[in-house]
């Protein structure tokens, strides 16, 4: 399969007065054309920073301090501002978490859609409008002609997220980065939006990076999952493998923490402790202080990703011993 994007040893640091926060520490990932990858982890694991670093939109003072991002054969992490601008919203589109906040309240939907097209394509205003209508139909917005002249507050949350998805489709991008696209929505609408995203990625053959903390959601949409912990990938493999046969103690903990309807009302399992501060990491495995299956070497050495027979890659000394 053709490779769409390859992230190689990416590092993102936030240099603050109180010290350097290493939000992304040496992450490598690849996504093929049309492939869907889920990035899972708890708050502060570096999921969003990873997503934003791909299009180099990390909030200050965050900076890419190492590694490469190779998109369609070019290292875009070295791109100039203008080169990068032409990639953003054009080849790589983003969907944000809260559709109530992502659309500008004082501009009409039509304006906010058309400006995206006009920023990347040489088309007339009329043609741009035609593209807008076409994409709005794709996300099942009824009577799109009327909708173009309306403002965001005239739409419901679900509708707004559809519009944001329509905006991301405008330029037929190769990759969509969706950062918790359903977290701010009603549960009933969450499934609707996810189905829509899945359907569109399949019909348009778009790559998708789905950032979420909801394992159940990712497993339905993506083919592979990367589990992030404290700025590092601790497990990477096919969605099915990770959900049914998690290898890393952290992933196992996450899956056990999911509510299971079949088992009736029972107290949920939880992983003890908290993620270490990204400012001062423990010497060994970052998960060591919370790990139930702790080995002596976990305290001093950092495990690296090793591939198992099943094809899953996992960063844990426990699994190394098994083989």
């Amino acid at each position: 399969m053709e490779q769409l994007i390859e992230i190689k040893n990416l590092r993102v640091d936030f240099t603050l007065r109180s010290g350097t926060v290493r939000a992304v520490r040496d992450i490598s990932l690849t996504i093929n054309r049309g492939e869907r990858l889920g990035i899972v982890g708890e708050s502060g694991a570096g999921k969003s920073v990873l997503g934003f670093s791909i299009i180099n939109l990390i909030s200050k003072p965050g900076k890419i301090t190492g590694g490469k991002i190779i998109f369609r054969g070019n290292d875009i992490s070295k791109y100039s501002y203008e080169q990068m601008r032409k990639i953003r919203g054009n080849r790589i589109a983003m969907i944000f978490q809260d559709p109530m906040m992502t659309l500008n309240p004082v501009l009409t939907i039509g304006t906010q859609m058309k400006e995206t097209i006009l920023a990347h394509m040489k088309v007339s205003n009329k043609e741009a409008e035609k593209i807008c209508l076409e994409k709005l139909r794709k996300v099942y917005i009824p009577s799109p002609e009327k909708r173009l002249s309306q403002y965001p507050h005239e739409f419901s949350g679900g509708m707004r997220q559809r519009i944001v998805i329509a905006i991301s489709l405008l330029t037929n991008p190769n990759l969509i980065i969706a950062d918790e696209p359903t977290t701010a929505l009603d549960v009933t609408i969450q499934a609707e939006i996810m189905d829509l995203l899945l359907e569109l990625c399949e019909t348009e053959n778009m790559g998708l990076i789905l950032i979420t903390h909801d394992l159940a959601v990712v497993s339905e949409v993506t083919q592979r999952i990367a589990v992030l912990y404290a700025g590092k990938v601790v497990e990477l493999g096919s969605s099915k493998q990770i959900i049914t046969n998690p290898q890393h103690p952290y992933t196992q903990g996450l899956i056990k923490a999911l509510p299971q309807m079949a088992e009736g009302a029972k107290r949920l399992n939880q992983i003890p402790g908290m993620m270490p501060s990204l400012r001062d990491m423990p010497d060994g495995c970052p998960f060591a202080p919370r790990c139930a299956a702790l080995l002596e070497r976990c305290k001093h050495e950092i495990p690296t990703l090793k591939e198992l027979e099943s094809g899953t890659q996992v960063a844990c000394f426990m699994r190394e011993g098994v083989e």
């Binding site: 601008r85 990639i87 809260d98 309240p105 004082v106 400006e115 920023a119």
Partner: protein, 325 residues
């Protein structure tokens, strides 16, 4: 939108009623009209009769309603000093003040918008730091001091600009004495308008800057960047339009306050406007003229704010819908 405008105008009328009430209360309690009208030789009995005839013994509310009726006809009483209707005196003085306020507002808008935006999007540049630093001095320096400094530098030392008066004026529309149509008149306008704007200008720069900084941090601006828009479009369309909303609200109030601030500026520059007229009328205890000034300035204040509210409604789509329902 129409219902919204009607509502705003109705509210403005209530505010005017209250202002008129305060004005009338001043008139009612200060001085004695009979003493002003008659000489020493009139007997107390005759005075009491006159009092009755002029309705001065009626209850406060009755007199207030009568006063309101007169105000609606444009009659704000007689100025004792000028021996002319107070309205006439004010109308004669108003153009000078309004032109001064207009020029100051123009200076404020033309300078604060670009400076505020620039210091928000490039906060690290030396120019932004310079603007922020000097604006503190601007805010803390009283208007009369700025005015005196200006006069000292540009009139006394450099002889570039005239230090007092309005200079040559031209009459337009038959009654409006304009100083803005002659070179001499414009020269006279420069320093007073700079002095008047000196307090509001730094305030506006800081207001626009802080609002803009906040908007630039918002999700929709981040999203605009993620869409790959050009920086100009993100700043001017996405960020600035949202910055404008609070600035318009505050701006309306400040513009009204500026009319009141003219009292100081006009006194220092001997500007023959309403402000200096008010000071003189206080010195002469010319109550009718004082009340007329109060009502007139109140009217300007209310008019400006109503206009600002309606403009706000035009910029902010959420308000427009609220009005439609």
């Amino acid at each position: 939108m129409f219902a919204f405008a009607v509502k705003r105008i109705f509210q403005a009328m209530i505010v005017m009623l209250i202002i008129a009430c305060i004005g009338f209360a001043i008139k009612h309690n200060f001085g004695d009209p009979i003493r002003d009208l008659v000489g020493q030789r009139v007997t107390p009995a005759e005075r009491a009769e006159m009092r009755e005839k002029l309705g001065l013994n009626d209850p406060f509310m009755v007199q207030y309603v009568r006063f309101l009726g007169d105000v609606l006809h444009g009659d704000l009483g007689q100025s004792y000093f000028f021996k002319k209707p107070a309205t006439e005196v004010i109308i004669k003085k108003a153009p000078a003040t309004l032109e001064l306020v207009f020029c100051s507002a123009l200076i404020i808008i033309l300078l604060s918008v670009p400076m505020g935006i620039y210091s928000a999007i490039k906060p690290q540049k030396w120019f932004s730091r310079f603007v922020m630093g000097t604006s503190i001095i601007g805010v803390s320096m009283p208007v009369f001091l700025t005015a005196i400094l200006l006069i000292y530098i540009f009139s006394v030392e450099l002889h570039w600009l005239p230090s007092y008066g309005r200079g040559e004026t031209v009459q337009i529309f038959g009654w409006w004495d304009s100083g803005m149509l002659t070179i001499d008149g414009l020269k006279h306008l420069i320093m007073p308008s700079i002095a008047l704007s000196s307090i509001m200008l730094p305030l506006f720069i800081r207001l626009i800057r802080s609002e803009m900084l906040e908007v630039l941090e918002s999700e929709y601006v981040k999203y605009a960047w993620a869409k790959g828009l050009k920086p100009r479009r993100v700043w001017m369309v996405h960020a600035f339009k949202n910055t404008l909303l609070p600035v318009i609200t505050v701006g309306g109030v400040q513009l009204g306050i500026m009319v009141a601030f003219t009292i100081l500026t006009e006194t220092v520059f001997q500007w023959q406007g309403m402000g200096s007229m008010f000071i003189e009328s206080v010195e002469r205890s010319d109550t009718s003229l004082m009340v007329a000034y109060l009502v007139f300035v109140g009217l300007i204040f209310v008019l400006v704010n109503t206009a600002v509210d309606i403009i706000y409604g035009l910029v902010n789509p959420t308000i427009r819908v609220a009005g439609r329902k």
